[in-house]
Structure formats: C-alpha cells, structure tokens
Symmetry: C3
Subunit: 346 residues, 3 copies
C-alpha cells in the first residue's frame, strides 16, 4: 500500500514521497526498506537520522528533523495511536460465521441475534439475549436473563451470570467470571455460622470494555456493580459487589477494588494495588503498583505505597527512610560532642 | 406480610403496631411506607426520628427512642442478622429439579443422590458420590472418587479434583479449583530440573462453606488440606497444600495462605494479605489488608503491615514514620546549636 | 522391595542390611519397621539415633553416625531428591488409554498423536497438533494451530490459545489460561476510548514446566512470551506479554511478572511479589514474598520489600525502622541536655 493511502487512513500529512510502497510495520531500529515505523517516545528521536524505514510516523514538530534520503515522514498528532490504528487495519480479517454448534446448548427461551457463533460446549440460558455477531467460545456461559451486546466475544470458559449485562464490542477473556455473588454475610461470631446476605443485584459492563483472563467481578447485593465505557481490565483483577468504575480506566493485573467503592473516569490502577471498601477515587487519579488505598483520593492525585500517600509525600517519606543510617550516625556524633561539652563544663 | 409474622420468624418483640403490612426491605434513608428497615450501625440511629419506614429492626436499647408516629419497632438482639434472615426468607424460591442433562457426562460408576441437577457439559467421574439436591452447573467437574455433600452447588466451570470432599450446603463459585496438586518439588539447582513430590493427599471442605470465583485450594502432599465449617472464602484466594482453616473464618479476596500453615477458628484475613508457610494463626486473630505474616500469631491479635506487626506496634511505627521530617529538622537544629556552643567554647 | 533394590534405583550405597524389606515411606519421627525415611534438614539429624525406621536415606557424611541396631542407612548425595524419586517410583501407575470421547470436539483439521486421551467436553481446534500420550481433561481447550508436546496434561478447563506452544512432559492445571491477549492499548485520554494494539505474538512453554491452577500467561504483542525448561509456576500467577522466564525457575502463588520483563535461569519469585515491566532479573536471583521490584536485579541478588532493596540493605533498613522509638527518645534527651548547657552559658 502506498504511503499516501496510509496518510488518508490516519488523516496525516506526508513529508517526502507519498508513493513509496509500505508492506510492513517494524520498530525504528529494526526497520528495513518497505517498512513504516513510528516515534512516540522522545528517547528514540535521534534514531530517525539512521533508520532504514521507508516511512516514519512522527509528531508534527519533527517535520524538519534530519532524516535519511530514502525515508519519508507521516505527521500525526499521536504517532502511537497511528501505529495502533494501522496495525488494526492490517491485521483485520473477515469474521467467519458458522452459527450454532450442534454441541452447544442454547435454551429454547434464549434469543440470538444475526451471525452469532456459539461454539461447542457453550451454554446460553433461558431468557438470555445475545446480540448480532457475538462469539461464544467453547465452555463459555451466559446465564438466565443475561444480555450480551453486539460484536462482543466471550472467551473459552468465560462466565456471565444470570441477569448481568455486557455491552457492545466487549471482550471477556477466558475464565473471567462476571456476576458471581458478592461477599456479604451477617457475622455470627458466637456460633461461627455467618448468615449470607442474598445478593440480589447484577453487573453492568458498558460498551468497548475488555475484561482479562480469570478476572472476578461480583454482582451487587442490591442495584449494580458497573464498569464504564472503554475501561480496560487486565488478568486476575477482583472487583467487589456494588463497586463502580468510570469510563476509560485502566486496571492492571491482580489489582483489587473492594465492594461499594466508586472509581471515577480515566483512572489508572497499577498491578497488585488494592482499594478498600466505601472509598471514592476521583477522575484521572493514578494508583501505583502494590499501593493500598484506604481513604478517598482527590481527582488527578497520584497515590503510592501501602498505606498509600500522595506521590510527593510518598517520595519524601521514601527519601527520608533511605536517610535513616545517616540520622543514626548524626545522633551518635551529636551525643559524643554534647558529652564532651558537658564534661568540659565540669 | 404483617409485622407480627416477621416478629415470629425472627423471634423479636414488636413495639407499636403488629398488624402493619410489610411488603419490602429498604435502607432507612430511602424507606417508604410498607417497607421495613434496620439499624445496626450507631451512626444511623438519628435517622430513626425521620424515617418513613413502616417498621425498623433495632437493638432493644433503642426501645424508647423517638420515632415517627407511623413507624413501629421490631426489637432484635442482632438487627443486621435479622435483616439477613428476613431477606433470605423473602428471596427464597422453590428449587427446580430437571435431573441429569443428556449433554452432561456422569460416569457409570458414580452415585447420584435424589433430586440432583447435572447441567449440560458438567462431568462426574468414576466413583464420585454426589449428595441429594446438589446442583452441578455447566462445565463443572467432579473428579474420580470425589464426594459432594447434600444441598451443595458447584458453579459453572468449578472443579473438585479426585478424592476431594466438599460438605453440605456449600457453594463453590465459578472457576474455583479444589484439589489441584500442591507446589512441591525437590530442587535440582545444578540441572534446573526439579523433581516433583507426588501430591498424594486431598482437600476436605466442611459444611456451610463458600468458596469464591477462581479460588485455588491445593491438595496436601500427604494427609489433608482442610477448610472448617462455616468459613467463607472470597474470590481469587490461594490456599496452599496441607494448610488448614478453622471454623467460621473470613478470607477476603486475593489473600494467600501458604502450605502447611494452620489458621484457627473465627479468623479474618483481609484482602491481598499473605501468610507464609508453617505458621500458626490463633483463634479470633485478624490480619489486615496487604499484611505479610511471617511468624505465629497469638489468638485475638490484630496484625498490620508487611512484615506484619501487632496493631498497636504497627500504628506506633506508622506514626513515627510520619514524624521523620520532624526528626530531620530537630537534628539540624541541634547540630546548629551545638556548633554554636562549641564555637563559644573556643 | 528389599533396600538393595532401592539403592540400585537411586544409585546409593547401603550401610547395614541390604536385604531388609521396605514397604512404605514415612517421616523419620513417625516411621515404623518396614518404612524408609530420609534426613535432608540438619535439625532432624539427632532423630536418627531414635528412629524405628528400617532404613534412612542420609548424606554420606552421616555414614558413621549413631543409629539403632535395626536401622540401615542408604547414602545419597541428595536425600530429599532420593525421597522424591522413590515416592514417584512407588506411586507411578500405568496410564489408562481410552482415546477420544464421543463427547469431545476434535476438529477434522487437527492432528492427534498416539495414545492420546481427549475427555468429554475438551476442544481441539483446526490445525492444532497434539503429541503422543497427551491427556486433555474435560473442558480443556486447544486453540487453532496450537501445539501440545508429548506426555503433557491439560487439566479441566485449562486453555491454550491459538498458535501457542506447550512442550513435553508439562502439566497445565485446571483453569490456567495460556495465550490470552496482552494488555496493550494506545491511550486516548481525551475521549477515554483507548485503541487496542493487536497482540500478534504467541506463548512458548518449554519442556517439563508446571503451570498452576488459574494462572494467566499473555501472548506477546509481537514475538513470544516464553517460559523456560523445568520452570514451575504456582497458582494464580500473572505473566505479562513478551515477558520471558529462564530455565528452572520457581514462581510462587499470586506473583506477577509484568510485560517485556526478562527473568534469568534458576530465579525464585516468592508469593505475591511483583516485578515491573521492562526489567531484567539476573540468573539465580531471589525475590521475597510481597516484594515490589522496579529496576534490574543483578545475578544472585536477594531482593526484599516494596520497593525492593537487596537483602542486606533491606534488613538494615528494617532494623533502623524498629529503632525509631529509640531515635525519638535520644533526640529528646539531647535537646534537654543541650538546653541545659545553653542555659548554663547565660
């Protein structure tokens, strides 16, 4: 495909030869003629002068940067996004439709949209509604009354329990469980026989969400547990009952969000972080890896450590921790000098 | 149902109108006439004066508290427990029995009790014994020689491996794995080819236990891994080989209990906490979120932090950490004043 | 079996009676006549004098140690390894071959080796290649074009996605997911609609690897995520896209290894530890439980804490933390004495 066509696809401007043929994508340091590459990180800028790529996607401010004669530029506001969109374009394949496998189980009371694939050993319960072009992979489970939006995929052995809802263009990866009972009990510490609070609510997953392998998202006791539009959830994450996540969040692997906690829009929660129950996390906040958040977080705050502090305070505290040997030495020195003075005063 | 009937069910005393009709349960601040509510947390007591609920479950000491004219009281020793039991009562539905699906696999050598449901794609191995009124959901697995007690449910894709035992009235949620091999090897660091220790034991889960989605409980190398009666385990928890948990424990999501560790009765282990191997945790202890326990814990102790300290010590240590900037300033001040004195002594 | 035969099996030397009959293995403190036991930990050496075992596997340097008359010794360089190999030998059972269940789904374009078992509800996709003597348990999944090496087992509901490769003599436990998409997106923070980076790579698991229950190992964006020969992975572990693990590593339960991180040979990663992305961990390093590693780790280093420090430094820092109350008291004392001196100077 000529560079001109890529420029049209990504709505960018060509500097150089719009007719150069592009046949592959490659990292800038490995690229050969015929490849298009991209620079999104400042530290790769100087590689532009030496690349063998036929074209490089760069930010407009690199328009006049030195580059090899055989290398054209494609100016884009967000070159990394350009890379992602181009890769999506090149790897897109027509979806095969084979329909409902004889070895699947679709309840007579379920409703399937057009061009749905139900693989062997997938289960669709009574009253479930499955949208157009949905793929239900082997061993996946759609409970009674659950709804799966158009163009969504359930991976092998993924589970969506009864009455829960997954939006359009979502991907629920293998082994993820949506809508299991929340962890709610009235404790009887005398007998040890705690009484279960029936979990009467459900889970709602909005459109364009990804839910990683072996994730667990519990249904609410009453009302909803909710995952907002475009939010991406990595593997092995836990989301407790009645928690809510806003739009466009990232939740990295093995993080845990406790019940009834409310996370705003555009929040990043790094790996193995935990957020206690009944907490509010403001829009645009970011929670560091392994952080433990126990109270509300203001919008845009960066939280680090367990228990978590705001970034600047957390870093100050870490610097001081590193200075403890220094403090100990200073204390010894002061003590010695003070004793000398006291002795001298005799 | 008239309030009188609820009072009989929960063995409580009515103060007010025993004939008022109750049709729903609601939080005290949202309740409308016809609803019953409850107060278990002190901070909601003052809402009693303004509620619109027809009845409120409260502790006996609130008998004479001011309340609206149209609101009756139901005195209960544990109002939250009353709420749980009433909710259970109201949401109970007759269990449907459809028997063994044609698409399930039940080995000829397995034994099924009365009124068992085996859903499509569920598997019951040779020699397995499944009690009365058990539900085996799609994709669930009962290994050879395993035993499932009466009234227990295995969720979709839940796995109980060979020779393991699950008690009565248990719920094993979707994707949980009981009885996978323990992590035991004789290391050969020279070749890197570690030799597996065959894991010959099993897992025993006593009655009234809940095991959350995607939990993993390993079988013992020899003997048993055991989960005590009434213990509740949240999602994504790990329990290592030969570990034991007593009766009535709570283990919150993503916590990990290492092999051969013994946890007493009524212990709470909060989210993402970890307990090292070969440790004893006493009855009634509580382990904080993200805590890391490396040694024995005495009964009733509250442990916090990683490595974990007893609560009071952990809090003292945290307070001192916060005072580090203060220490640094004091050190500077002392140094300056001491230098002045030393200079003055010249 | 006479002790002589065990000695031949394990290539050890008998001290005592080579004809004594051995019928079981037992811990040294519980052993009865007829049992063989072992000592690998120094603290059990003195139990040798009082054991009732008919034979004990010990290191050669214990050859002349005092022992009961009825107890023979079997000298082995690594007695624990001897125990493991003997237990393996004794518990080995002939593998039953029943072939492909009528209730399994094997695509017409898949290739199965000799003596393969495909249990009910297992799925083998088009172009998949399954080696000799492989067991595919109920609900397990082998994606299109995936390869499973000889003598490997996939547990119930284990998933190996398309084009991924698992070596020979591996065990993938129940619910583990190999080859789910890596967590890669081009963020669009303005709209919150992040764009997915297609994950075009795969996962390669070399020979003799164990992968625990409900583990998640993501496929690479480009190239491979790789797990080296003989590495053992415990339950609920996360391994991100394009990460690599060398030969003979141990990764304990709930640990997480981020994308593009490279772990050397013979590395131990303890429970709930986390390693950030783009990090190199040297051969033979060990990462402590709940540690958080953010930078490169040199070969053989022992890392502790979050953020992780090398062992010696981490321990020093912990000792100093414990001394904070002492520091506070010393500061007070110095202040008082200095004030006295200053007052005295008036």
């Amino acid at each position: 495909m000529p560079l001109r066509q890529i420029a049209e696809l990504l709505e960018g401007e060509v500097v150089g030869d719009p007719d150069v043929e592009i046949s592959t994508i490659a990292p800038i340091q490995d690229a050969h003629p015929g490849a298009i590459s991209f620079i999104s990180n400042r530290k790769y800028i100087r590689q532009l002068a030496e690349t063998r790529a036929s074209a490089v996607m760069v930010a407009p401010e690199l328009r006049d940067r030195e580059r090899p004669e055989g290398t054209s530029l494609l100016l884009l506001d967000d070159p990394y996004m350009g890379f992602a969109l181009l890769l999506q374009h090149l790897t897109r394949r027509p979806r095969e439709v084979f329909g409902v496998s004889e070895r699947a189980h679709v309840d007579a009371g379920a409703t399937l949209g057009a061009e749905v694939n139900v693989h062997p050993f997938a289960y669709v319960g009574p009253g479930a509604v499955v949208g157009d072009r949905v793929d239900l992979h082997p061993g996946s489970y759609v409970g009674a009354g659950a709804r799966i939006g158009a163009d969504t995929t359930l991976g092998p052995n993924a589970v969506v329990h009864h009455d829960c809802e997954v939006g359009e263009r979502c991907h629920v990866y293998a082994g993820a469980v949506i809508g299991s009972d929340g962890f709610g009990f009235a404790p009887n510490l005398r007998t040890g026989l705690h009484v279960k609070i029936p979990q009467m609510g459900r889970v709602v997953v909005e459109d364009d969400v990804e839910i990683g392998a072996n994730v667990a998202i519990d249904r609410a006791a009453m009302g909803e547990t909710r995952v907002g539009q475009g939010t991406k959830i990595d593997n092995l994450v836990q989301i407790g009952h009645s928690a809510s996540l806003g739009r466009g969040c990232f939740v990295v692997s093995q993080a845990g969000i406790s019940g009834t906690t409310s996370v705003g829009h555009g929040v990043t929660i790094a790996g193995q972080a935990g957020i206690a129950g009944h907490v509010k996390v403001g829009d645009g906040a970011s929670i560091g890896a392994q952080a433990g958040v126990h109270g509300d977080v203001r919008p845009g705050a960066k939280m680090l450590g367990s228990p978590a502090l705001e970034g600047a305070e957390a870093k100050r505290s870490m610097v001081l921790l590193r200075r403890l040997p220094d403090f100990r030495d200073k204390l010894r020195d002061l003590e010695r000098r003070l004793a000398a003075l006291e002795g001298g005063g005799d």
